[in-house]
Amino acid sequence: MKSVLLNIILALIAAPLLPGIINRVKAVFAGRKGQPLLQLYYDLHKLLKKSAVFSSATTFFFWVGPLAGFAVLAGSLLVVPQAQGKSLVQFPGDIILFVYLFGVMRFFAVVSAMDTGSSFEGMGASREIQFAVFAEPALFVGLVTLARKTANLSLSGIYSSFSWHDGTILMLVSAAFFIIFLAENSRLPVDDPNTHLELTMIHEVMVLDHSGPDLAIIFYSASLKLWILGSLVVGAIIPMHTGNIIFDELIFLSGIAALSLAVGIVESCMARLKLLKVPQLLIAGFALAMLALIFQIM
């Protein structure tokens, strides 16, 4: 129990560090010094001191969007297995809850973007939904495979019970999860978090009109989402539980850090995909998960 609480607190505190690590890796590749590791903390602090500006065209949905998004993420943090594959809340079938919590978050993000009536935000929302259509089934099939493998229907049940012996399936599923992880967190090659070109953005364009504390919540939620989906990937790649809280915690944290490193390397080594080709990448993720399921059933 104590270790699970520790996990949640760690996630809430350390999540904004992940974008810092990614940016630092990218800076090294580009031959720059890069921004401080703690930059996002400074940004959050700065934004929280500001006041928010609301366009007169917006309504209730606009300001409720970021809050609802954060609430949903906080909820999924309770379910997601972290170190030792344990979570605070677990019940059979919570895998479905987990996936749809992200669906709810997306709903609020899209609705609050559409609420501004801006053509850019509309385009961003349409792209976000289009890609979610491909990402969601891949995540589901991956989780179903793992559920069948471990004969368990709760996330932490699944994650605490598999081991190195499940190699092939774990490899395929974690590859699929990594693709979904990149897409859901709007990282390269699906989206470019650094771009300022309204016409090409997906996630960034949906939050163009948010400011001040609202924007801070959005940034914070984005880093928390990175952590939560990252836990799924790390748990599948390193299915190792020593039983010792400290060791397991260290393994998990270094896994998350290594994942951020990997994201930084991917972002430094390749260009962004054409928007038309993004569904192909997501379908590849789906195919990997499906392959794992077929292996499992046979």
Binding site: S119, P189, L197, T200, M270, A271, R272, K277
Partner: protein, 489 residues
């Protein structure tokens, strides 16, 4: 039947020898020449001292290096539009209509080019279908670029039509130059398109020197050539980096950003200004390259070029980059010729068109540069042509530095001749720059007309975006990288 006057780059002609056609014959003659494959490089209206407005056209024959000049008689209210038969006249006629309140009859899409005067709500091509949505971008952009308004008609993510509306940078440079040349004239020219300082200033001083019959020394010509190629190197490098940045390809983007600065610093090493301001003056150049600086200069150039080669070759060797570049924003050779594209976009679709080669001037008469072309007309072709030109420019600078002719760098430039017309063409890094000066009986500018390559090429970008993904617009736009202030003047 009368014939238009044949002249060449920077050759002054007596204004009275320019044949005057009636309005109808003028149109026929321009269309006849354009039908022969000649291309409109300048087409404008000017006023004589009785305030009578008449049209002037300058056409270029790319293969024999000849220019043709002709003018029309007095225009009262309207004149027949050439645009339905010759698309190249489109922007020029819209400009004439805006500046002189005369109407090109039968122009298919007559609206102002620069919004110089207060307008009714602007006219845009619109669709009333429920399937098609409109996206308006700018004039204020998310990035730090110049202001311009872009209106897309989209079906889903596909662009059906793009219309570009500029003029936010209009400063009235051409109008200010009338009555010149004065002390300020050259500074207006230097900043007419800030990133093309050397290109525009070269065109201006060449026109002035031609008017005053001043023969600049070979050493000054060589130094001007070196500066022009340095400007090309810096901007092409910046463009390749910006293209990489637009597709999120980090390494080339970061390195080219730095290397562009290195080239700018090389420019500053010669003249103390990173953009080459104050380097070129009528009669020659202000700063010399002495032995000591040449050593340092060539050493730095070699190192910068080695770094640049590493950074740029990453682009061609990365499949994800090539996937984005190839096939994006395609323009066919036929379209390019029809629109009269110039510079990189023209050469990228296989058109051999380069003033340094076709209408050689200054040092390029002695040291010829081959024309770098590619044939696919897409973003890749425009990027790759830039890389080909970078290699040629570095070679050119190296050769010139090693064999700099001796001589004065500056001689005094006399007074411009009266009643004379001169067309001065240079190849700036964006493409053909055309300055046309007409002097009055006192030798002052009666009309000074600047055509930046962007003026020809913005239409090309509109056409390149048809049936393209709207998310590819920034990439296509960057592959043209046109000037807003050079267009707006």
């Amino acid at each position: 039947m009368k014939n238009s006057l044949i002249t060449s780059n920077c050759r002054p002609v007596n204004s009275e020898t320019i044949p005057v056609f009636t309005v109808g014959e003028f149109a026929d003659e321009v269309l006849r020449l354009s039908g022969q494959g000649q291309r409109i490089v300048n087409y404008f209206a000017a006023q004589d001292k009785n305030r009578a407005v008449s049209l002037f056209a300058v056409l270029a024959h790319d293969t024999n290096g000849k220019l043709r000049i002709l003018s029309s008689g007095k225009i009262e209210k309207e004149f027949p539009s050439l645009t339905p038969d010759c698309v190249q006249a489109n922007m020029f006629e819209r400009e004439i209509a805006e500046q002189w309140d005369i109407i090109p009859v039968n122009h298919p899409w007559l609206k102002p080019v620069r919004l110089q005067k207060p307008q009714k709500p602007e006219m845009f091509l619109q669709s009333y279908s429920d399937e098609i949505h409109e996206v308006a971008v700018g004039p204020v952009h998310a990035g730090i670029i110049e202001p311009g308004h872009f209106r897309f008609q989209c079906s889903g993510e596909t662009v059906l039509n793009l219309e570009i509306s500029l003029g936010y940078q209009h400063r009235g440079i051409e109008k200010t130059l009338i009555g010149g040349p004065g002390g300020r004239s050259i500074h207006y020219i230097e900043t007419s398109a800030g990133d093309t300082t050397i290109g525009h200033t070269s065109a201006y001083v060449q026109a002035l020197e031609a008017l005053s019959n001043c023969n600049v020394s070979a050493r000054a010509q060589a130094l001007r050539g070196i500066m022009l190629e340095l400007e090309r190197l810096a901007n092409h490098t910046g463009d390749l980096g910006a293209l990489a940045n637009d597709i999120g390809y980090l390494p080339t983007a970061s390195y080219c950003g730095r290397i562009r600065g290195d080239f700018l610093n090389l420019t500053a090493l010669i003249c103390g200004n990173r953009f080459g301001r104050n380097m070129i003056c009528p009669g020659g150049v202000r700063f010399d390259l002495d032995k000591r600086i040449i050593g340092e200069f060539l050493k730095r150039l070699e190192k910068i070029f080695a770094d640049l080669t590493n950074a740029v070759e990453l682009l061609w060797n990365t499949p994800s980059v090539m996937d984005r570049f190839e096939g994006a924003g395609k323009i066919s050779r036929e379209t390019g010729e029809k629109l009269g594209l110039v510079g990189i976009p023209a050469r990228a679709c296989g058109i051999t068109r380069d003033i340094r080669f076709d209408f050689p001037y200054g040092i390029y008469r002695l040291a010829q540069l081959p024309v770098s072309t590619y044939n696919t007309g897409d973003v890749f072709a425009r990027a790759y042509t830039r890389w080909l030109e970078i290699q040629k420019s570095v070679e050119f600078i190296n050769n010139q530095c090693k064999s700099l002719p001796a001589g004065e760098i500056k001689i005094s430039c006399g007074v411009p001749a009266s009643n004379t017309t001169v067309v001065s063409l240079t190849e700036g890094w964006r493409g053909e720059i055309c300055h046309t000066a007409i002097t009055d009986e006192k030798g002052s500018f009666k009309s000074y007309k600047i055509v930046d390559p962007s003026f020809h090429n913005w239409t090309g970008l509109q056409i390149a975006m048809r049936n393209e993904q709207i998310s590819n617009f920034p990439l296509c736009n960057k592959s043209f990288n046109l000037s807003y202030c050079g267009h707006d003047l």
